[in-house]
Amino acid sequence: MNSLSDFMLVSAMLFGIGVYGLVTKRNALRLLFAVEIMINAANLNFIAFGQYLPFEGSAQTALPNAFGQTFVLFSIALAAAEAAVILAIVVVAYRLHRDVDVSELKSLEG
């Protein structure tokens, strides 16, 4: 558990689980779970690459490479906003349709 490819393996597994959830589940909350898992897989990859790979620019500026971590901080904040909005939409959809099954929400279809 100490090389870059180990973390990439975990990330690949998480992403695969997220895809499986997105394809098979119909409950809107489960879809939210699956999306969160996939976002976490991507974040894990960002951090792993940012920490392991050498960064040429840091030699000139004498600063360690913090781009991966910074990007993940932004990504986490965006995911939190997204989760709040999705939960509000799910609650409203439930009150309107009495259902959280996404295949039953016919009025959202184009």
Partner: protein, 160 residues
């Protein structure tokens, strides 16, 4: 750590009760935070615990428990064809990514070459990335206002 993360992710999607699914999701997020610690990124790990487990997981749990009705747990069982297709898709993507990770020379990187402290992150955020930070603040504010408006407009509905 790997087992905790991946196992909890599976529990999050496959648990019968959606409350247990939410708890499984929290476990998976916690596992990812532990991996961040292993990657020598403690600031991001603490941020992940604070935001994801402290806010998102608790938000989901409270929503599920407050609007506790049978239909939330109920789920039309997926047809076996969908299930097989989903499992195959997920497995194919996992294997493709895993082969890509193992087959390349990425496993030669075994030492962490960047150990940026939170000071470096702060410098980066407050200088070069400041526009992103401001945009993100606006997006967060807009999403919170949007979520509040959605639930408030809905509450007026029955009175009409």
């Amino acid at each position: 750590m790997m087992v905790l993360t991946v196992g909890s992710a599976i529990v999050a999607l496959e648990a019968k009760e959606i409350v247990y699914g939410a708890i499984g999701l929290a476990g998976s997020l916690f596992g990812v935070a532990a991996l961040f610690f292993l990657l020598d990124a403690p600031y991001v790990a603490v941020f992940q615990i604070a935001v994801y487990i402290g806010a998102v997981a608790v938000l989901i749990l409270f929503t599920v428990m407050l609007v506790r009705e049978e239909k939330w747990a109920k789920e039309a069982p997926a047809t076996s064809l969908t299930k097989i297709a989903g499992a195959l898709t997920g497995l194919a993507i996992t294997i493709a990514l895993a082969v890509a990770a193992v087959d390349t020379n990425l496993s030669q990187y075994t030492t962490i070459s960047n150990s940026a402290t939170f000071v470096n992150i702060g410098q980066l955020i407050s200088t070069g990335d400041a526009p992103i930070l401001l945009t993100l603040a606006l997006v967060l504010a807009a999403s919170v206002v949007g979520a509040l408006t959605l639930s408030r407009a809905d509450r007026e509905e029955p009175g009409k």
